[in-house]
């Protein structure tokens, strides 16, 4: 049986890892073409990267403020107008650098796991 504290430590590590990778994952999704926040969530959930939805909105907002992504408003049949996110050229550059960083990390993890 794990103690509560152990559980918390593990949970915390997982959260930190997810958070680190979340930005990268979202930028990857947006880079595939314009996408709506809810669809991003669905993809992230499918990939088990995110459990709760609320967190994504501040993240998207921050990405936009950094000039990495931008959005356009589009009408929706079902509900309120939706924000569709696209990658800026600055975002593209950032994604590339992230990608190379990821390669390094992946290699490192791969290496250490052996």
């Amino acid at each position: 049986m794990k103690t509560e504290e152990q559980e918390k430590t593990i949970e915390n590590a997982q959260v930190q890892m997810r958070k680190g990778i979340l930005e990268f994952a979202i930028l990857l999704l947006i880079s595939k073409g314009k996408i709506y926040a809810n669809d991003i969530l669905v993809r992230l959930k499918d990939a088990n990267l995110v459990v709760v939805e609320g967190t994504i909105y501040p993240l998207l907002s921050r990405l936009r403020n950094s000039g990495l992504v931008n959005y356009t408003w589009e009408e929706s049949k079902a509900g309120p107008p939706r924000k569709y996110y696209i990658l800026t050229s600055k975002g593209g550059d950032f994604l590339k650098s992230c990608d190379s960083q990821w390669q390094i990390l992946e290699n490192a993890v791969h290496l250490f796991k052996k």
């Binding site: 930190q16 958070k19 926040a37 809810n38 459990v51 709760v52 939805e53 609320g54 967190t55 909105y57 501040p58 998207l60 907002s61 921050r62 403020n65 079902a78 509900g79 309120p80 924000k83």
Partner: protein, 632 residues
């Protein structure tokens, strides 16, 4: 049952339970604090709200109309605890700490409504002490109970997380709210607390229902009163216009007469609007308040106000200008006046007919008849003296040749003076004979309310079934036949012959000889009466109490009885073996007390006496006395 409210979320309207609303609001508030450092947090909040709106929209599409507490809990699970919003880049911000303790009822630590626990938390006192104080207050003239109920009503319960924290005086921080979110998952109201909270809700609901009923009654009476005014006024005006040229009269004044002296139609029209428009405004205002429905617009209101002002001015002007004329007209008709009726002479009998007459007869040297009343009523009376020397007076029930609106017939007083009178026959009219001197008079009244006879008369034959008759004076021989009436006699006489059926007689004065034949539930109070020789017959529940001094012959049946004073020798007839006789030795006036249940207490005509009796068994007396008390 939950109270619901409507919210605007992301531009959409949702119907939501109030508790759910507060939870959602608290949640959004704590999220806002978490992302506080973000440059455009408003935008993020909008995004989050819209996302929530979309999810709720989906739920409502599935046929759920009202957002419940459970829905909000689910939403919060999906959206994430406020904790998840914490940005690793941001320092934890708890700078906006508020310590703002507020008084709430603590329903989580309650016995009844959580008033004591709320107070204890608010004033930081031991809960036990507060409860003890409350319990003791119950014994101070019970002051604790209404006080508790009052506080229960006016102090709100801490329902939402934020309220619970405010009650504790805990800083209203995100962390605190989160903590309480986590705690609340484990808390469920226990059965009895649930019942208590339901009782509280029912109580509040009853209050609000009775308040609503009260409001409804007020509204209803205003609407009814104003509608009645409008309808009544309309009917009145229509009726008056319809009958204006007819022979109808209002209160004995012909309408056609009024039409002649004043601008009648203009007056009616303006009076109508002067009364109806304010009533209508009141009506409309009430409808507006009660049903929140606007039924008047500004142009109509202005037109009506102008119309009302014009109508009021016209009404007032006409009233001031023509009131004296109308009053003069009314004076002609409505003032009481006395007229002499000429050429009514040489009669020795009087016969009257009609309830609106009061006849007074007195002795004089000459014949004269005068009448006093209003003109219209005086016109209703007819007079003649026929061949048998009878003066006939009668009054018609209706105003002659005149149909009347709002008329009530009024009394005519007829004063007759005559040197000689033998017979008086009265039907319906009231009769008043005062200080008459005569050898023999025969009076017969029927259906009258009041008949009074006073004078010095040798022989008076009096036959009556009138409600109330009174005979006073010196009358040597009095013969009375009374049926279904109340008679009071206070005379000194030689012979009194009293034949009564279903009659109450109050007998005073004295008589040498008395012949009494009382039948069918007749009661005779002769406490103030004295007689020497008497021949008494009492039948069918008839009772007598009086004083006998010499001899007495009685014939009394078993349903009747008598209490007597004096030294009379009683000869019982063979027909009265079971009758009740009781001799009274002393009569003491007594304080009148209703339903006093005391031996020897005796009531008669609202007077009370204490009777001391020697012979006759007290038990029987008591029993019969009860009978008498009941009867009178």
């Amino acid at each position: 049952m939950e109270k619901i409210t409507t919210i605007n979320l992301g531009g959409f309207a949702f119907t939501i339970e109030e508790v759910a609303y507060h939870n959602l609001k608290d949640y959004l508030e704590s999220v806002r604090k978490k992302i506080g450092s973000d440059v455009d947090k408003n935008e993020v909040m909008t995004d989050i709200e819209m996302s929530i709106a979309e999810k709720l929209k989906e739920k409502t599409k599935q046929g759920k109309n009202i957002v419940t507490e459970k829905d909000v809990d689910e939403l919060i699970t999906i959206m994430g605890h406020p904790d998840d919003f914490e940005d690793s880049k941001n320092e934890k911000i708890d700078s906006d700490v508020k310590i703002n303790k507020k008084l709430f009822r603590d329903t989580e630590n309650s016995i009844l409504g959580g008033v004591c626990s709320g107070l204890a938390t608010y004033f930081d006192v031991e809960l036990v002490l507060v409860r003890l104080a409350a319990f003791l207050l119950v014994f101070c003239n019970g002051i604790g109970i209404p006080a508790y109920i009052l506080l229960w009503i006016i102090i709100p319960a801490a329902e939402t997380k934020a309220q619970k924290l405010e009650m504790q005086g805990s800083p209203l921080t995100v962390a605190a709210i989160e903590k309480s979110f986590k705690e609340s998952d484990n808390e469920k109201k226990t059965g009895y607390k649930k019942i208590l909270s339901n009782i509280g809700k029912i109580f509040k609901r009853l209050l609000s229902i009775s308040f609503k009923i009260f409001l409804f009654l007020i509204n209803f009476s205003i609407i009814a009163a104003t509608l009645l005014t409008i309808i009544g006024m309309t009917i009145l005006v229509f009726v008056l216009i319809m009958y204006a040229s007819s022979g109808y009269a209002i209160d004995n004044i012909l309408i056609s007469e009024i039409v002649k002296v004043m601008p009648f139609y203009l007056f009616l029209g303006s009076l109508f609007f002067a009364v109806v428009i304010p009533a209508f405004f009141l009506f409309a205002a009430d409808i507006m308040i009660a049903f929140k429905r606007k039924i008047l617009n500004m142009p109509v209101v202005i037109v009506l106000i102008v119309l009302w002002m014009i109508a009021s001015i016209i009404t007032a002007t006409i009233t001031i200008r023509y009131a004296p004329d109308i009053r003069e007209k009314m004076n002609d008709i409505q003032y009481r006046q006395t007229i002499e009726i000429p050429s009514l002479e040489n009669f020795n009998s009087i016969s009257t007919n009609g309830r609106d007459l009061i006849i007074s007869v007195s002795k004089g040297d000459k014949f004269s008849v005068s009448a006093n009343g209003m003109k219209n009523d005086l016109d209703r009376v007819s007079y003649n003296v026929d061949e048998e020397k009878v003066l006939n007076i009668s009054i018609s029930e209706k105003v002659r040749d005149q149909k009347c609106l709002f008329c009530n017939s009024k009394i005519v007083r007829i004063a007759i003076t005559t040197p000689n009178i033998e017979t008086i026959k009265i039907n319906g009219s009231d009769l008043n004979i005062n200080k008459i001197v005569a050898d023999k008079i025969s009076i017969e009244t029927s259906g009258s309310d009041y008949v009074t006879v006073n004078g010095t008369i040798n022989t008076l034959d009096f036959k009556t079934n009138s409600t109330q008759s009174s005979i006073t004076g010196d009358i040597n021989n009095l013969n009375i036949i009374a049926e279904d009436s109340n008679v009071s006699i206070d005379i000194n006489s030689e012979n009194e012959t009293l034949k009564l059926e279903n009659t109450t007689l109050s007998l005073s004065g004295y008589a040498e000889k008395t012949f009494l034949d009382a039948n069918k539930d007749s009661k005779i109070n002769g406490l103030e009466f004295q007689t020497y020789d008497a021949d008494i017959k009492l039948k069918k529940d008839s009772w007598l109490i009086t004083r006998f001094e010499n001899s007495m012959l009685t014939e009394i049946d078993e349903t009747s009885g008598m209490f007597y004073m004096g030294e009379a020798k009683i000869k019982k007839s063979n027909n009265s073996p079971f009758a009740t006789f009781s001799k009274i030795t002393k009569i003491t006036p007594y304080e009148y007390r209703k339903n006093l249940n005391e031996d020897n207490y005796f009531e008669f005509y609202g007077n009370a006496y204490r009777l001391d009796i020697t012979n006759g068994s007290p038990e029987v007396f008591y029993e019969k006395r009860q009978l008498l008390v009941e009867k009178f």
